[in-house]
């Protein structure tokens, strides 16, 4: 205990140790991110492969459509309605100061159909359906139900993941239209009933500024969002770690990663779609 250590060890400066540890953490994070991205890509390829290889059982698709579409309608309608009203409150505050309160219909409706409708519908879907998908598949993984499927010669991606992805892809445009409609209705109702905005002028300006292309942009975005939510949520559920903690983590990761990706995809599509379809946009028919 009291012996003197006579060996000479080269001392490493603390700053160098800290940089080394930081560098290792960065390298580990990058490696994990790359591995996970590769894994997610392979997972997506598997889904595509099974989509073309074998027909889904109608029962599984109908059940997924019910869970994703029908049960999400109330929450998405309610969110759309309130967002429309909130937009009316905020727009009126700004526009009335410059005497353009009658123009607010254009801003509210444009914002809704191009951005807030699809993004909010997708966010609600990620929260309500994405987390549930990850938790459900995660629980199936932990309780060996996925292994049981495989032991019967059934591919779990075909049986569990594909119906969910297809249902999300099919139904998210409908949910987006519902969010748009309820938002437009909420914005108009609040403007007309509470803020005394002229209803004729409200829709007149909307018609001048909001075109069919704007609605289409929102719907195209929603397809990408739906795909992202379903694939990411199923991926995290499918690769869930053992135990209740693992299922909880999978559900949280499904929502957080889906949400971040929705925002990223929204930005990219926002930049890309307008540039790609500029001629179509200028020639688009007025919708509202």
């Amino acid at each position: 205990m009291n012996s003197v250590d006579t060996t000479v060890t080269p001392t490493t400066p603390p700053n160098a140790l800290r940089s080394h540890s930081l560098l290792r953490n960065i390298t580990d994070s990058c490696t994990n991110f790359t591995l996970q991205l590769g894994d997610l890509t392979l997972f997506t390829v598997q889904i595509l492969k099974w989509f073309f290889r074998r027909k889904m059982r109608p029962g599984t698709l109908v059940n997924a459509c019910f869970q994703i579409g029908v049960l999400s309608l109330p929450v998405i309608a309610l969110t759309g309605l309130f967002i429309g009203m909130v937009l009316a409150v905020q727009s009126h505050f700004q526009f009335s100061q410059i005497g353009m309160a009658n123009h607010m219909g254009a801003v509210i409706n444009m914002t809704l159909v191009r951005e807030l409708g699809p993004v909010l519908a997708a966010t609600m879907l990620a929260g309500r359906v994405g987390s549930a998908m990850a938790a459900e598949l995660g629980t199936m993984r932990v309780t060996e139900q996925i292994d049981a499927l495989e032991s019967m010669g059934i591919n779990p991606i075909h049986h569990l993941v594909l119906p969910r992805v297809v249902a999300a892809l099919l139904l998210i445009p409908t949910l987006t239209i519902m969010a748009d409609f309820m938002g437009i209705f909420g914005g108009f109702a609040y403007s007309y009933l509470a803020l005394d905005v002229d209803p004729h002028l409200y829709f007149q300006y909307s018609r001048d500024f909001v075109g069919g292309w704007d609605l289409l942009t929102g719907l195209i975005k929603s397809l990408f969002f739906g795909c992202t939510i379903a694939i990411v949520s199923c991926y995290y559920g499918f690769h869930c770690q053992v135990g209740a903690k693992g299922v909880g983590r999978a559900a949280t990761a499904a929502f957080v990663i889906s949400f971040v990706l929705i925002l990223g995809v929204d930005l990219l599509l926002g930049m890309g779609l307008d540039r790609l379809f500029l001629p179509l946009q200028s020639g688009g028919n007025a919708l509202i």
Binding site: R57, M140, T143, E144, Q145, D147, A148, E150, S151, M152, G153, I154, N155
Partner: protein, 289 residues
């Protein structure tokens, strides 16, 4: 590695069993997860019609081996052959086809909790229906009569059929899992700790069901268990594994391969301690890390 000792009971009734190729052959299988080696150079065979029990301490790789037998876990090296087909060299479609010839009873039963008991048992039939020609497809009535029959075979009442797995006891869930695994009359039945967590009577019911299923049709069974009563009662042959991290030097991981009746006469301390459930010096070893 495989035992040359004569098989007992049902297996011995089969003519020329020694000349028939084994149903499952495992050759130098190594499985590891990350850097942790679980199975090292495992070589064994499961003969047609025999009931093989795999025993050993927790964490010695019994379940990993069971899952490897049908390709649910892929080894890093070595081969697993099912009815002469190397699982590593099959396509996913061929592997899926091979798996329809097996039944797997998982430790926690692994019943689909969104389906009723009847739907769970009918599930393999409905899936196989979708893979075969339409003229041989079973109608709903036929499926339900098969389900009712198999529910009765495992000693459950008809009214259990409409209940969900969460609404029935652990023993009943295990019986439903056995009924589901048996419904397509598989060639190979795999049981992962079928009696764990059950009371002695429920455990014996499961043992009886395992024996009953081989009386009804020729089936090869592999049972992973800690329960020596199960191993003694149902098995023709017992293989005992030892955890890799407790092996000394170049020792093989399979420390016993033979009939259950000879287990008691074995001199190996590792075997006698396990079969009599004696901790020995283990408490001290564990506290020393």
């Amino acid at each position: 590695m495989s035992s040359q000792l004569p098989l007992q009971s049902a297996t011995s009734q089969q003519p020329n069993s020694s000349f028939i190729s084994p149903l499952v052959e495992v050759c130098q299988l190594c499985v590891s997860f990350d850097e942790r080696v679980v199975l090292q150079d495992i070589t064994l065979e499961v003969r047609r019609g025999e009931t093989l029990a795999i025993i050993g301490e927790s964490g010695c790789g019994k379940t990993v081996l069971l899952k490897s037998l049908i390709g649910l876990i892929q080894g890093q090296s070595g081969t697993v052959r099912f009815d002469g087909v190397d699982l590593c060299k099959t396509t996913s479609a061929e592997l899926a086809q091979l798996r329809t010839r097996t039944g797997f009873v998982f430790q926690g039963a692994a019943l689909f909790d969104s389906l009723t008991v009847a739907e769970n048992i009918a599930f393999p039939i409905r899936q196989s229906n979708s893979n075969i020609a339409s003229d041989t497809v079973l109608c709903d009535e036929d499926i339900m009569s098969l389900v009712t029959e198999s529910v009765r075979e495992v000693g459950l009442a008809d009214n259990v059929c409409q209940r969900y797995p969460m609404e029935i006891s652990g023993g009943m869930r295990k019986r439903v899992a056995i009924a589901r695994a048996n419904i397509l009359n598989p060639d190979l039945m795999l049981y992962d700790e079928p009696t764990t967590g059950l009371d002695p009577i429920a455990s014996d019911v499961i043992n009886e069901l395992i024996m009953q299923s081989r009386l009804q049709h020729t089936v090869t069974s592999v049972i992973v268990t800690h329960d020596m009563k199960t191993a003694r009662k149902v098995a023709d042959r017992v293989i005992m594994f030892h955890p890799i991290d407790r092996l000394a030097g170049e020792d093989a991981q399979v420390i016993y391969d033979g009939p259950p009746s000879l287990l008691d006469r074995h001199a190996d301390l590792r075997i006698t301690q396990f079969i009599h459930g004696e901790a020995g010096q283990r408490v001290t070893e564990l506290s020393e890390g």
